[in-house]
Amino acid sequence: MSDQPTAAERFLNGILPENPVYRQLLGMCPVLAVTSGMKPAITMAGATAFVLIMSNTLVSLIRGLLKPHLRILVFTLTIATFVTIADRFLAAFMYDMSKQLGPYVPLIIVNCLIISRAEICASKQKLGTAVADAVGMSLGFALALASIATVREILGSGTWFGIDVLGSGWPAWGIMVLPPGAFLTLGLLLGGAEWFGKRRAAKAS
């Protein structure tokens, strides 16, 4: 890695080429848990984006003070602080959503995506680069959550964002909104993304 990617490149990398879910398999726990519908998925993506951007900003600002052996602890405590803020905010203004998301909001603390961005990017880069990276990664994460939630909500309850799309004749596939549906959907979508990427690479060469 002699030539470091610029801020703009990092931003674009996060969205598709290094998509946190499809390419790096990070942050699987919320990806599977909150994607039974679009609304929880988008709320989750928003909360994660807030935490990721804020923690990348703060870690980048204090990167000169970090001690190597204590850095992971500092990262987790920083993230935990912002997660507390996000959690209190959700509980105050979106109470039903906060109830529905339940323990998965505090579990953002141990989302490997955020800690890996702090470690790989924010603790070594200037503020602008770190923020661009965080925004790109959050968009990629939101895209991944939305794609899985779209499949699961449409097949599982025939709606999208709560709006009826498949009509009342659709026999809702109950399994899709239950835990097994999450695993199956993500497995097949990962396979699809892999197949698509390979085919494009084969065409290019």
Binding site: L25, M28, C29, L32, A33, I72, L73, T76, L77, I79, A80, T81, V83, T84, D87, R88, P103, P106, L107, I109, V110, C112, I115, I175, L178, P179, P180, G181, A182, F183, L184, L186, G187, L188, L190, G191, G192, E194, W195, K198
Partner: protein, 232 residues
């Protein structure tokens, strides 16, 4: 006897019906990452069970005495400082920071202790210990305990918290060992090129989750059986 049967139900609930991995999706990273061989998977499962128990013990103590609404220690400080009478002190906003600190430091201490005094054990699961800090299963167990301590009508005791933790750890061990067994066989199977690796692992996990849904209702059956036992 009442308490014993409720403990059995908590254990079955955490280990089988609401399996941490297959129902709550916590601990997916090691579940996919360290499930290539049965013996390493089993070692990882034991390490997680060990740490989850210690972290739950500590978090129960902290939550019960310091963090829950109306906990004794902050109330005592409040009174010593000369605060107004009859106030309730609620420090639960600090819970997440406290838990993550407890988990990170207990993992560190467990690693140091095992390396120094149990070198054999360290060889078998020492490599997994640092990874466990970011394992959601542990924080999830702490959060479940917190949920039960914030509601004064169903205040959990230490024994209930520990049974939940051990049940969750056993459930994780069962899930990851089964997964590793299946993946060892999958190496010989003809999997489509694009699904190799994580794709097929997730599909297998989906089928396992369906199988584990079959445990739904087992708790009610066990409860009835226990009731009948007490009745006689």
């Amino acid at each position: 006897m009442e308490t014993v049967s409720s403990l059995i139900l908590i254990f079955i609930g955490a280990a089988l019906i609401n399996n941490f991995v297959l129902h709550y999706f916590v601990g997916i990273c090691p579940f996919l990452g360290v499930s290539r061989r049965v013996d390493t998977a089993f070692g990882m499962g034991l390490a997680v069970t060990f740490v989850i128990t210690i972290a739950s013990f500590l978090s129960w103590v902290f939550t019960y005495y310091i963090l829950r609404p109306g906990a004794p220690l902050p109330l005592w400080v409040w009174n010593v400082m000369g605060g107004a009478e009859g106030a309730t002190v609620d420090l639960s906003v600090l819970s997440y920071i406290m838990y993550i600190f407890v988990i990170a430091s207990s993992v560190q201490f467990v690693e140091m202790y095992v390396r120094k005094f149990q070198p054999k054990l360290y060889e078998s699961f020492g490599v997994f210990l640092p990874l466990i800090t970011t394992n959601c299963a542990i924080l999830f167990a702490c959060l479940e305990i917190m949920k039960h301590l914030q509601d004064p009508t169903q205040l959990w005791g230490l024994h209930e918290a520990l049974v939940l933790a051990i049940g969750g750890g056993v459930g994780f061990t069962i899930a990851i060992s089964l997964m590793a067994g299946i993946r060892e066989e999958l190496d010989l199977a003809d999997v489509p090129e694009a699904l190799k690796g994580a794709g097929i692992a997730l599909i297998v996990a989906g089928i396992m989750a369906m199988a584990f849904m079959g445990f739904t209702g087992v708790d009610r059956g066990v409860e009835q059986a226990l009731m009948a036992l007490i009745g006689r």
